[in-house]
């Protein structure tokens, strides 16, 4: 330091300035032309798309674990939804069997039925009617209740002629009630009976089930969000040094965040696919027993599994939850990493 001119403040040398009007340059000089920025934007996305996948592949066990958890969490509400859908399908099959029974007064015989049918149709419109004479009804009664001995004691047949009416399956309960009262008013009819309560109960149960599915779906969506968010958080923590260096050499937050978002995208997609696979597997396993059950109910409708719309919805939900979950976690976490040296 022999030549050191100590305590001399600062040496200014203007003679070597090369930039004309250098100090007036604005920060715009930093930004690339728009066309180049546009291409770079898409290239960065394509790179991050595969980079995100690559990061998951490098941690196969952890990724598989996360994907399975997401798969199960998504399969549960979707499965319940399908159970309900099938139940409603079943109920529709039974709606078809909705009937109004008219117990005619004892003076009426089977010979009077065609005339009565005309009067009924004049009241309520065209309708399918089945007539059951006292003999047929008694036979059915014997078989059904197993009281043939008791019936023998009766000596004469106490049963009236019964007409069974089959209303259109799409009639709602209120219209059916109205029709029943109209029929009750006919002088030939002792009793008009409509059994609707079990259908109403079934509808109420289905309604409850729908609500439960919605609640379950919301809860499990949050679970998926947290699962994906948590794995993003761990990943950011693991890459702390890398992120710090990237910030040091001028990476934008968007650049650093992008691979994490695509990892979330892949996790959500894989999780949703797993859910669809699980549901399909369950449908296949249940197919036999359900067919048997339906056969007992004289119902030939098939067990409905995941269709295209539901599948697409599940995939979309998985992907959205994946992206949003990692976005929230990564934003929170990145703010906490300040580069230093």
């Amino acid at each position: 330091m022999r030549k050191n001119r100590a305590n001399k403040p600062v040496k200014r040398r203007q003679n070597r300035r090369k930039k004309p009007g250098g100090a007036s340059l604005r920060s715009e000089q930093l930004r690339p032309p728009i066309g180049r920025a546009f291409v770079a934007f898409w290239v960065a996305h394509v790179l991050a798309f595969f980079h995100g996948l690559g990061r998951l592949a490098r941690e196969p066990f952890g990724s598989l674990l996360t994907i399975t958890i997401i798969g199960i969490a998504m399969a549960l509400p979707v499965g319940l939804h399908l159970v309900l859908k099938n139940m409603q399908g079943l109920a529709e099959g039974w709606n078809d069997a909705t009937q109004i029974s008219l117990f005619l007064n004892p003076s009426m015989t089977l010979k009077d039925v065609p005339t009565l049918q005309g009067r009924i149709e004049a009241q309520v419109g065209k309708i399918r009617i089945e007539a059951k004479g006292p003999e047929a009804a008694l036979d059915e009664f014997k078989q059904a209740v197993g009281v043939s001995e008791a019936v023998k004691v009766l000596g004469e047949n106490p049963l009236p002629v019964v007409l069974i009416l089959y209303p259109e399956p799409d009639m709602d309960p209120a219209a059916l009630e109205a029709m029943t009262s109209t029929l009750q008013a006919l002088p030939e009819v002792d009793l008009a009976q409509l059994d609707l309560r079990w259908i109403q109960r079934l509808h109420a149960i289905a309604h409850l089930g729908e609500r439960a599915t919605l609640i379950l779906a919301s809860l499990f969506s949050i679970a998926v969000l947290l699962t994906i968010g948590n794995s993003a958080r761990i990943e950011v923590e693991r890459r702390r040094e890398e992120i710090a260096v990237e910030k040091l050499v001028g990476a934008t937050t968007a650049f650093i965040r992008r691979p994490f978002l695509y990892s979330g995208f892949w996790l959500g997609l894989a999780g949703a696919s797993t859910a669809i696979m699980l549901i399909t597997l369950a449908t296949l396993l249940l197919d036999g027993p359900v067919r048997e059950l339906l056969r007992l109910y004289d119902n030939d409708s098939l067990l409905s599994g995941i269709d295209f719309t539901l599948g697409a919805t599940v995939l979309l939900a998985g992907v959205s939850l994946g992206i949003v979950g990692s976005l929230i976690a990564v934003n929170r976490q990145l703010r906490r990493i300040e580069p230093d040296w």
């Binding site: 100590a6 305590n7 403040p9 070597r16 100090a23 920060s27 930093l30 910030k247 040091l248 990476a251």
Partner: protein, 229 residues
């Protein structure tokens, strides 16, 4: 290239790391920044790269007002400055090539051929062209530091900052590293090196700044720069 007007930095808690520093460094200069540890060398470099914000005064880098720069412009500002760290800050799970390519990828360089050409040019400059497929941990300390330098210069920034670049190296290797900096200066890059290796610094006849307790206490300028090389 670099102008500091009355720059001060006070940390929360009251520690004053820099006190009203005035300084001008022209384009193509090579300047050493000396002083004991804690004198404010690192703080000065952090202010220039906007890792930290000035408490008072103004910093201009290449015509950009760093002290009033928006958050949005900071990443691009950093891309125009190459930084070399004492502990090189290489990413151990990436090859030498990928480490050096990082600033280019961040800057949106998407043509593989261009990327390859620039990375190889930078590695060639530091003499490590044959190690591009290696991982940093398989390299010696001096080689790692040279990879760090290649990463700092790969996108040809007009300003190069180095914080104790030879802190972990023996004297011979240190001299090699400084020769490398000299070669960048010769092609017009402005170089600012913080170091306390006075013996080495004095052997290069270059401008030397000395910081002490946050004050710029000396600014040594050699009479004729070429004389002692």
């Amino acid at each position: 290239m670099l102008t500091l007007n009355n720059v001060s930095k006070r940390y929360p808690g009251g520690h004053e790391a820099l006190k009203a520093v005035n300084l001008q460094i022209d384009q193509g200069e090579m300047v050493f920044l000396t002083g004991h540890s804690g004198a404010g060398k690192s703080t000065l470099l952090k202010l220039i790269t906007r890792l930290e914000k000035v408490s008072g005064g103004q910093i201009m880098v290449d015509g950009r007002n760093v002290s009033r720069m928006s958050e949005r412009d900071i990443p691009r500002h950093r891309r125009r400055i190459g930084v070399i760290f004492q502990d090189n800050r290489l990413l151990p799970d990436r090859t030498v090539f990928d480490n050096v390519a990082l600033p280019l990828v961040i800057d949106g360089c998407h043509r593989h051929r261009e990327l390859q050409r620039m990375v190889r040019a930078a590695l060639d400059k530091v003499g490590l062209l044959n190690r591009e497929r290696s991982y940093p941990t398989s390299l010696s300390g001096g080689e790692q530091q040279r990879v760090g330098i290649a990463r700092a210069v790969v996108n040809k920034p007009p300003l190069l900052l180095a914080d104790e670049p030879t802190g972990n190296l023996d004297p011979d290797l240190s001299r090699d590293i400084f020769d490398l900096f000299l070669s960048f200066q010769q092609v017009g890059v402005t170089v600012l090196i913080a170091s306390h290796d006075l013996e080495l610094l004095t052997s290069f006849n270059r401008r030397r700044l000395k910081l002490e307790h946050g004050n710029l206490i000396s600014d040594f300028v050699p009479d004729a720069q070429e004389s002692s090389e």
